[in-house]
Each structure stands twice: as C-alpha cells, then as structure tokens.
Amino acid sequence: MTSELSLFPGWPPAPDPVFFAGLALVFAGLAGEICFRKLRLPRITGYAVVGLVGGTLGLSSMLDAQTSAAIRLLIDLALGLLLFELGSRLNLKWMRSNPWIIVTSALEALLTFVAVYVVLRVFNVSPLTAVLIASISMATSPAVVIQLKNELRAEGQVTERLLALAALNSVYAVVAVKLVYGWMHQAYHSSFWVVLFHPLYLLVGSIVLAFVLAKACNLVFRKFGSQDHHGFVVLIGLIMLMVALVHMLKLPNSLTLLLAGIIFRNVEERPQLWPAYFGTAGWLLAVVLFVLTSLAFQWEYVVIGGLAALAIIVVRSLAKVVGTVAVAHQAGISYKQAVALGFSLCPMASLAFVLVADTYDIYPQFDPMLKAVVMCAIAVLQLVGPLVVYWALALVGERKD
C-alpha cells in the first residue's frame, strides 16, 4: 500500500522533460515572433537565441544520458525531414541541361575546403582535425535554407540555386567526413578491414536504404495522390521508420535522408510534392531543431576555438562568394545574383552539429578543438546566417515576406 502522502507532490515539485520542452517552445515561439514582427528579423534567429540562452544557463548539462539520447533522435528526425524535403527539390535534369550548376557547386565547395583547411593550419590545428572541420564547413545548413525559403516564400534564381547548392554541398560534406573516418580509423585501429570497409559500408548502406525509402514513398504517393492528407500520415511514418533503421544500422542519417529525397524526386517524372504538407508539424520540429542545436553550445568553447572559428567564418564566406561569382556568367546569373547566392550559402547549423556529434560518438577522446571550433561557428552562424540570407534575398528581390 502506498503512503497517502505520495498522492501529493513533494517539495519542490520535480519537473519532467515535458516541462522543459514546453518551456523551450513557449520561449522560442515568443522570441521568433518578436524577431519577425518587431525587429523584422527571421524567426529562426529568435529560436537560436533561446537555445543559446538555455545553453548558457547550463540546461544541456542538466540532461541525463537517456534524455540526451532521446534529444539526439529528435534532432535526427527533424533534420531528416528537412533534408528529405531539400533533396526532393533537387532537379537532376536541371544539372544535365545546365552543367555550370555542378561546376559552381564543385568550385565553391572545393574553395571552401581548401581555404578553411589552410586557415586552420595557420592556427596550428592538427591536420586530421583541420581536414574534418574543412569537410564539415563545405555544407550549407540545409535546415536554415529550407526553413527560410518556406518562411519568406522566396522564389527566383538565387533561391533555386541556393537550394540546389545546399543539397549538393551537404552531400559532399557528409561523404567527405565519412571518408575521413577511414583515416581516423587508421590512427586509432590498425585493422585494414575497418579502415577500408567502414566508410564503404556507410556510403553503400546509405544509398541502398535511401533507394528503398524513396521507392516506398513514391509508391505511397502514387496510391494516395498528392492531394491526400491521410497519405501524408503514412509518409511521415515511413520517414520515422527510416530514421530508426538508420540508427539501428549505424548509418549516416543525414546522407540517407538527403539521398532518399533526391531519388524520390528524380525517379518519377510526375511532380512529387508531399513535403509541402509538412505545415505545422514540420514547423514545430524545425523549431525544436534550431533550439537544440544552439543549446549544445558552451562558452568554454570560445576560449579554445573562438578565434579560429571567426577566421573560418570569414574565409568560408569569401570562398563561397568567389566560387559562385567566378562562373556566374556561364551559369546564367548576374554578378549581383552571384554575390547574393555566395553569401546565402554561409549558414551552418544542425548538420554540422550532427557531424561533430557523430565523430565523438565513435571516438569520445577525439581532439576537443573540433567541437570548440565548429560549435563556435555554429553559434555565430545560427544567429547571423539567417540574417545574411534574408538580406541577400531582399537584395535580389526574391523575398515575399
């Protein structure tokens, strides 16, 4: 028999994770609206601020291991949905009729990689860490890009190319990081098998799983049609299953979902439009994603990697602008559009965070410089990145709201 006192709350009453989640959403929602209505800033800047404040107050260190794992799953799910949507907007036929898009993409990513690597070496960062950070830096935050496109209802060449380049450089970044793992395994393991087959397993595994998911989504889509909101439930379920499968098989979540989106869009001629129905549910997940990403930031990172982070933010932006401007003419956009496009590629957020977290999952003792530099860059760019995109799209008249 339970004590009668147990019917009443103890003192102080212990809040559970739902309490914190609710609190975070209330603050994030308010901050987002203040940014948007009063300050005329993108909402996601507000979400990032709430995350940073939460991180500063030490919220992230209060979480137990179980909650942390749950949070990681939530991040993977939210990011997965956004990556799938981004992938499903990449039109490979366009790349075929305008190969200069691919050239632009390869150029900006390569320049970013080289510039970031060189700068980090100047800051005496070890080669392995520098390569890893340079790889991660290639990616433009898919979450920020797709969220801003939806929030601003942006439309036009810069927006179109921003989505395409973000999808492509995210693929490069994830693939590069997984290849670097081969190198890391060499440093930590001596087994030839692990060095060779782990990256191979990750890449092939992602492709196979992505293909299965894409075909399943196409099938559901065909059966239910594009106007059916109930079919949407099944599709969301499929994505969740896929995120779970990716976890079970220890495959890269981001790459798999991004590839699945690309395949989903490109194997069928018919417009495959379901991500438009993400609507409110998708928005909620995106808010959670932005808050959680910033939440992981700790001020001690600034001491270790702050300066290097600022340096890579600058050279990374410049590299991307140079990359897009260099072939602007051939690619069919004006120089003004190319500059706007280059700067719009600067956001860095949850994908970078996930890639860093993945690395420490495999090697918890890995160089803390990686975490410090990338998390500082994310903290700054989660705040500044959306603004830059906001201004760039305004400059070329592609912003509606």
């Binding site: 907007r89 039109n91 036929k93 366009w94 009729s97 305008n98 209802r153 439309e155 036009g156 060449q157 179109e160 395409a164 049609g225 594009s226 106007q227 001629e269 018919r270 417009p271 439009l273 438009a276 069919g332 956009i333 004006s334 008249g397 592609e398 509606k400």
Partner: protein, 371 residues
C-alpha cells in the same frame, strides 16, 4: 495625344504574338523568371521579338511579318527553341494555356517598369488577376478604311477563334466549366468589348479624339477590345485567343484568320451594319462556355448551328483563299481539330482526369509546348 497615322501594309501579311507562362519545375506554379530569361535570350539571335510583360511570370514572344503559314511555323519554332533552351538553364518551365490552372493571383510580382507599375496602381487587384495569357494575331491592311471594314466583318468570327484556341478551363485551382475562362478576366476591364461601329477612318479618329478629351484614354493601348486597329503597323489585331498549348496550333489559328481576312477583303461578302452586333456577346459567351459545341447564331440570317459546324462551313467557303495564301495545311489542321471536337481545353480536362493532379497537368503542358 492624337491617333497615330495609319501606315498601309501589304494585305494579308500577318504577325503572331504569344504570351507565355513561366512556371517552376518543382510544383509547376507560376514563378518569377522574366528578367532572368530576358537577360539570357538577349545574347541569342532569333526572328521576331521577346518582351517582358506585366508580371515576372509572363513573357511575350512575337514573329516578324509573315507571308505564309510556313514562315510563321519556322519563326515560332526558332523563338520557342531559344526560349526553351534559356529556360532550361534556369530550371524554369515554359507553357501555353490561357490561364495558369492553380496560381494565386495575390502572389504575383509586377515586372519592374514604370508603365506596369502605373497599370498596377490604376487597376489594383484586376492587374494581378489579369495574369492571363493570350495569342494576338495582326493582319495587314492596305488602307485604314479596309482595316475598319475587316475589323467589323471579322467580328462575327470571333467565337470561332475563341473556341479553336480555348485553353483556360481551370482558374485558381478549380474547373470553371468554361472552355476559355480567360476572357472573363478581360471583360472585367472598363474598356474591353468591341470597337465602335464606324467604317470611315475619319470617324474613327473623331471617336478617338473624343475619348482622349474625356481623359479616359491616352493611346490605343488603353482599349482592351476583342479586335482593335493598330495604325502604326497598318494592321488590325485579333486579341480574343487563349495562348494555345503548342506552336503548331498557334500558327494554324493565325493562318485560319489570315485566310478569312483574304476572303473578307477580296470578296467583301457582307454589307455591314450595327445590328450585326446584336448576337455578338451571345455568340461569344457560347464559345467561351461550351467551346466548339457552343451555339452560333448567324448575325444576318438568324440561323442557329453549333460553332463546330459553322467553322466547318466557313472552311469550305474560304478554301480558295487559303490555297492562294499557301495556308491549306493550316486550314486542314483546323478542320481536323473541329472534326475531333478536341480543343486544348478538352485536352487539359482529359489530362487532369487521368493524372488527378493540376501540377502534373501543367508539367504536361510544358512538354507539349517544347515538343
């Protein structure tokens, strides 16, 4: 401002203008691409002209002066190819059709030019709702009085052109039941309708001066008539057609009009009177609503047929003129179209019924345009 001088042109020469839709290739809604497209095609050589229109989602292409059906087909194909190549670079789709099936007019952006901003101010939401796409055909006339005769004689055939070109059954995502819903948007404008019944150019000039004095109009451009004279070109301009879904259809309709013009100018078969217009709006409505199955009342005899039958009869009458202009192939295409009863509006409804998606329907419109 007084009316431009009428500069005579060679009779029965013609020119075609087509307003095209610019759509994205994700969900195939209208997109903003006119400025980018203009920049890319500026480097290309092609016959005719490519011009921006009222909104960023529209572009207008036109031919030079054509003499024969084959001229029009060659020129239109060339301009089309230039535009399609440029639009592919931009990941933009290009298609015909009098309306976009599911665009929301509030989303449209006005093309950055003083005239378009002025019109947008003046007409308010009408200007944006006027995101409709038409085919215009100019027919050369030897002198201004012939132009007025041709204009008023041609008026009775307006329903033919509407039914043959109709390609706007869907507006704002719903099936309107019309074959050409586009014209309903045009009728909302205060200066739409038909030209005043005057047959002497001096009288027309007097009318125009009076209208200018009222302050209502500044130039011929302010009249949105179904057919209007274009004195600077020495032509009359037939403006009721929806942009067809293919180049070939556009060229065929242009040459059907050309053949009719030759018949009317050479044979002068009608004694024109104001009373010809008694049935005008009825016939026009029937064509918009029911296409080739619509009723057609002959303005002189009062005889009632279907539009399809009336076109078939007309084709027989103008046969020698079509032959003289080398427009037989065009008239044959029109005959087949009438026989099948399947104008573009019917085709669109079939595609939609099959695909159950307006997005997919617009994608197929793009394919037809590029084919």
């Amino acid at each position: 401002m007084s009316l431009e001088e009428f500069i005579p042109s060679k009779p029965c020469t013609f020119g075609v203008e087509l307003e095209m839709q610019l759509v994205n290739r994700h969900d195939y809604d209208l997109t903003k691409a006119a400025s980018d497209l203009m920049r890319l095609v500026a480097k290309e050589t092609h016959p005719g002209e490519i011009k921006p229109e009222m909104t960023e989602s529209m572009i207008e292409l036109s031919t030079d002066i054509c003499h024969h059906h084959s001229d029009a087909v060659t020129q239109l194909r060339r301009v089309r190819d230039v535009l399609v190549a440029a639009s592919e670079q931009l990941n933009v789709g290009l298609c015909g059709g009098g309306t976009h099936a599911f665009q929301r007019w509030s989303e449209r952006t006005i093309y950055d030019s003083p005239r378009f901003h002025f019109l947008s101010e003046l007409y308010g939401y009408l200007a944006k709702q006027f995101t409709v796409f038409g085919q215009h055909v100019h027919i050369g006339c030897p002198d201004p009085d012939s132009a007025l005769y041709l204009l008023h004689a041609m008026s009775r055939y307006i329903p033919h052109f509407i039914a043959l070109s109709a390609s706007s059954p869907y507006v704002q995502g719903v099936d309107t039941g019309f074959h050409s819903a586009r014209l309903n948007s045009v009728f909302a404008f205060p200066l739409s309708g038909r030209a005043p019944f005057v047959l002497k150019w001096e009288d027309f000039e007097t009318y125009f001066d009076k209208m200018v004095k009222t302050g209502v109009v500044e130039s011929m451009k302010d009249f949105y008539w179904d057919i209007r004279p274009k004195p600077g070109f020495g032509t009359i301009e037939v403006r009721v057609m929806d942009t067809p879904l293919s180049i070939d259809r556009a060229a065929a309709i242009a040459c059907y009009i050309q053949s009719l013009a030759r018949y009317l100018l050479e044979e002068r078969p009608f004694v024109l009177s104001e009373d010809d217009y008694l049935v005008y709006t009825f016939n026009r409505f029937e064509a918009c609503r029911f296409g080739l199955d619509g009723a057609y009342v002959d303005p002189q005899t009062g005889e009632r047929t279907t539009l399809g039958q009336h076109i078939a009869q007309t084709l027989k009458v103008i046969k020698p003129h079509a032959a003289a202009l080398e427009a037989e192939a065009a008239c044959e295409e029109i005959r087949e179209l009438v026989a099948s009863g399947k104008n573009d509006a019917v085709w669109l409804r079939e595609v939609h019924a099959d695909a159950k998606s307006l997005n997919e329907m617009v994608r197929q419109q793009c394919l037809r345009w590029a084919a």
